[in-house]
Amino acid sequence: MQTVIESSGICKKFGETVALDNITFNVGESEIFGLIGPDGAGKTTLFRIITTISLPDSGSMKVLGLDAIAGFRELRRRIGYMPGRFSLYQDLSVEENLEFYATVFGTTVKENYDLISDIYSHIEPFKKRLAGKLSGGMKQKLALSCALIHKPDLLVLDEPTTGVDAVSRQEFWDMLRKLRQHNITIIVSTPYMDEAMRCDRVGLIQGGRILTVDNPENIRTGFSAILYRIRAAEKYRLLIALRKYSGISSAYPFGDSVHATFRTGRIDESFREFLRSEGMENVTIEESPADIEDRFLELMAAVKTEQGK
């Protein structure tokens, strides 16, 4: 498998703030690589270096076999980029936006229509509408169509699903999976950890550092502790109570339950006693396999305690 992105030791500072700290990872051909991390983790900065519009302070970035600094001209022909902010012309119609990007990249809508037809067909009925008047999900589809119109070898998507409803997010990931047939490598960032499972491989980034890179299943099974899913009528009170308990190792809210791990590993009788003393009745406790999010939170917490020391 050929390497599409080869990042080694990338560092970038903005004044005193370290945005990227020794970023090293690879992305293989036709892969969907997810970069997961909270806001301010450095995802956008890293993507801008990959797309040649920002320069690293040190380290080397090779994209599609070319140096991202020296080969920027060639790369700009072959990369499709969708920035985090909606950046199409709001005062141009859907059709006009698409046509503009097609001509800018020296192609036509017709030529690559089959590539975008799956996505574009959703918004084609509204092709006369101004882009600024589209809903969030449609804007995102249009932006993706525009980024794809020149049949790029690498597609860089910066938080494409932020601010989009759950159904559209689902659809969006389905579309990305379909794009793999066309030999397009995709690197996508997201703050939503649940989207990690839909990538081929995932890199977890926090505070400008990559914590782990692996396929989602391996990351998930890397969870080291025994996980309990705890449920009570009042979730918030339960969470507060759990965090007070001396034997607790971690407690995070997850949907309608709280995921918790314990210093002692397994739950013992003193915990049940503690719950009773807190006045928590009807609490269900069950052992459960970890989600990928549990592993992410574990990794991130580990980094935090390390930095705390």
Partner: protein, 369 residues
């Protein structure tokens, strides 16, 4: 080339879709011409004058008629004594009182000269100067008529006011070239700097950067539509000043249009330069308005003559492009001179244009940071 045309098409769409841009582009120049031409002009129209005629003879009657029928003045009152002068001037409607001494006509025929007094309201110095100038001019005119008449007398009053290039003392002549100069640099620089910074602000520049478009293609694509529209604008202004003020172009129209193109190009490249140093639209507007409008009005010779400026302002004005274009356009429009007289100014403008373009392309960032 196709890329470039695609870009130009997109820019035109932006302009035509945003009616505000169109208003700025075409409405403001027309409004400015009207405002400057009519309101801010140095013209007199129906200024109130009163007469104190102590002579009441044929000559004073004729001169009174001539002044009142000139269109510049309007008779407010006929006075009978000196004591009324102060009273009527204080009322404010009368800008000047013209006094004919006793035996005005007889003195004129007996001695060949006589004096009339013009008492103007000095609380409005500008108006007072205008009024006295106009009355002097009309009197001189009257003298000439009298001298030409069969058996007429020789010159009566020695005040000599001669007007070059603007014999009827019409202010529009002075203002139209100035307004064209001011509007073109404002509109061109403002619009281009705003349209480029808008892409930066809305994040579309980020996408344009990650595309095969070269800086020159982006810049030229931005400039071309505005160049075309500004040129149309110049023609509209010229037509307006022709139909509304009756201002002809004395020199070569082709030369005037060619020089206008050069000036537009200069203003556009200045706008690009502004956009490369500002990151928000607000900044770009601020620099174009404050940095260019005031200096253009004050230092380009548009209103205040450069010759009268202290030497330091004179030097500052030397780097203001409008200063040269005002000379060019006045020479062509009003004096009707040819290229031989303005090649120096043309050369300076061309040089400035090249410097601005060079600086803009050098400053244009191919990356974000």
């Amino acid at each position: 080339m196709k890329r470039f045309l695609g870009f130009v098409k997109k820019e035109f769409l932006h302009i035509f879709r945003d009616y505000r841009t169109l208003i700025i582009l075409f409405g403001i120049p027309a409004a400015q011409i009207m405002i400057f031409g009519y309101v801010v002009s140095n013209d007199l129209k129906d200024a109130g004058v009163a007469f104190l005629d102590l002579s009441r003879d044929e000559v004073t009657q004729k001169l009174t008629d001539k002044i009142c029928s000139s269109g510049f003045f309007r008779l407010t009152e006929t006075l009978t004594s000196y004591n009324d002068i102060d009273k009527i001037l204080k009322k404010g409607k009368t800008k000047a009182v013209i006094v004919f001494q006793k035996d005005f006509g007889r003195d004129l025929f007996a001695e060949g000269k006589t004096t009339m007094s013009v008492i103007a309201d000095g609380s409005e110095p500008n108006m007072a100067t205008l009024v006295t100038n106009y009355i002097t001019a009309i009197t001189t005119d009257f003298n000439i008529e009298q001298a030409r008449a069969p058996g007429g007398a020789v010159s009566l009053i020695s005040a000599q006011v001669r007007m070059f290039y603007n014999p009827s003392l019409q202010g529009h002549y002075m203002f139209v070239p100035g307004v064209i100069t001011l509007i073109m640099i404002l509109i061109c620089a403002l619009m281009t700097s705003v349209t480029i910074t808008r892409e930066k602000e809305f994040g579309t520049m980020e996408v344009l950067l990650v595309s095969p478009l070269r800086p020159t293609q982006i810049i030229l694509g931005k400039v071309t539509p505005y160049f075309i529209l500004s040129f149309i604008n110049v023609i509209v202004i010229l037509l307006l000043s022709w139909f509304v003020f009756g201002l002809p172009v004395k020199g070569s129209l082709v030369l005037l249009l060619a020089e206008s193109m050069l000036y537009i190009l200069m203003s556009l490249s200045l706008g690009i330069l502004i956009s490369t140093v500002s990151s928000t639209m607000q900044q770009a507007i601020f620099i174009s308005m404050v940095g260019m409008m005031l200096p253009t009005i004050l230092l380009s010779g548009f209103i205040y003559p450069i010759e009268n400026m202290p030497w330091i302002y004179n030097w500052v004005s030397a780097i203001m492009p409008p200063r040269y274009f005002i000379i060019i356009i006045k020479d062509i429009m009003i004096k009707g001179t040819g290229f031989a007289y303005i090649w120096k100014e043309t050369l300076i403008l061309a040089f400035m244009t090249m410097v601005f373009i060079w600086l803009s392309i050098r400053n244009f960032r191919i990356r974000l940071h």
